[in-house]
């Protein structure tokens, strides 16, 4: 089987993301659900890169007339996945800031209590 350059690039990117996710999971920074989601998503991209004909079958199954529509559809899916990742990261940062601000406020309140008593 001949591997084109674009296929090698996509597979490398996908494997990098998969290893990164696995490392995050092993360090307890990712839940099993997140790990599965990452594996399903990048696994699918990798599979499509290695077996591009599958895209044609999926396009036919979904009713797309040509590859262009399928590529557009895939692009939207990738953008959605990236947006989702950004939202998750943003939510995580928000929670860290919230935790920090809450703890500072509680410490300040407890110090005031100590002064009063």
């Amino acid at each position: 089987m001949k591997i084109e350059l674009y296929q090698a690039i996509i597979v490398t990117i996908a494997v990098t993301f998969l290893l990164k996710a696995l490392s995050h999971f092993l360090r307890g920074e990712r839940t099993i659900k997140e790990l599965i989601a990452v594996f399903v998503f990048w696994g699918f991209i990798e599979y499509i890169a290695i077996f591009p004909d599958t895209l044609g079958k999926i396009s036919y199954f979904l009713g797309f007339k040509d590859y262009l529509a399928a590529i557009l559809f895939s692009s939207i899916a990738i953008i959605f996945a990236l947006l989702f990742k950004i939202l998750l990261d943003q939510e995580r940062h928000k929670q860290e800031i919230t935790k920090l601000v809450r703890e500072l406020a509680l410490k300040d309140g407890e110090n005031k209590d100590d002064i009063r008593t």
Binding site: K33, E34, L88, Q95, T98, V101, R102, L106, G109
Partner: protein, 226 residues
């Protein structure tokens, strides 16, 4: 009055018009441990609350009702409160109902009591009823727990509930998050009817379609990433 250590938590954001009267009303009923969580207010909320005799914990920035409530619950937990009550600081809840919530915890031996606006005879605007129903259905779909007023901020928690409940949501979706945590933590809950006193300002809070959509989206994200 019961001898238990009771803490009243008032999460507040720019409520200098109502907070003073509310604290005075609660004090007149004999409750001493009144904690105002000043959530980054830009008005005189902090000053008014302190002058009214409440303990004020201040978030340097505005985090949202959920974060303010969790700060209050954590404070009460560290002070080893027996029963902790949360209520809205805009004055929409009647402090006279606090006694009913405490009684329910003591007599029914439940961990959480939710004050329901829909179980009492209240004149609630139809729009608010509609949004509340949507929130109830959504919360039920995610938690399998039916509550008639999922968005009520008037609640009572015993020590066990204080230990178990950990609100991660910062905004108004925290009310649903508390309900989501009931079953997994094997907590018992009940609902009792409460009075509601809507002002023009309190009617404006959290009832838009946009707010509902944002809450729904946040609950969805939480459900799939938990």
């Amino acid at each position: 009055m019961t001898e238990k250590k009771i803490f009243i938590i008032l999460p507040a954001y720019n409520e200098d018009k109502h907070i003073g009267d509310l604290i005075a009303e609660i004090k007149s009923l004999g409750y001493e441990n009144i904690i105002v969580i000043n959530d980054g207010s830009t008005d005189l909320t902090k000053l008014v609350a302190e002058n009214s005799g409440a303990t004020v914990i201040t978030h340097p920035i505005n985090l949202g009702a959920g974060a303010a409530t969790q700060t209050g619950l954590t404070y009460a937990k560290r002070k080893k409160a027996d029963i902790t009550i949360t209520l809205d600081s805009d004055g929409q809840h009647n402090p006279k109902d606090i006694e009913k919530l405490i009684k329910e915890i003591e007599e029914k031996k439940v961990d959480i009591v939710i004050g329901s606006r829909f179980k009492g005879k209240n004149d609630i605007p139809i729009v608010r009823r509609f949004f509340n129903l949507i929130a109830n259905l959504m919360t039920f779909a995610l938690s399998s727990t039916w509550v008639s007023d999922t968005q009520s901020g008037f609640k009572a928690f015993n020590q066990k509930a204080l230990e178990k409940i950990d609100i991660k949501s910062t905004g108004f979706e925290f009310c649903s998050e508390i309900i989501l945590q009931i079953k997994p933590n094997s907590l018992k809950f009940s609902e009792i009817p409460i009075d509601v006193r809507y002002s023009k300002e309190s009617q404006m809070k959290g009832q838009s379609l946009a707010n509902g959509m944002i809450t729904a989206f946040k609950l969805f994200i939480q459900a799939i990433t938990r």
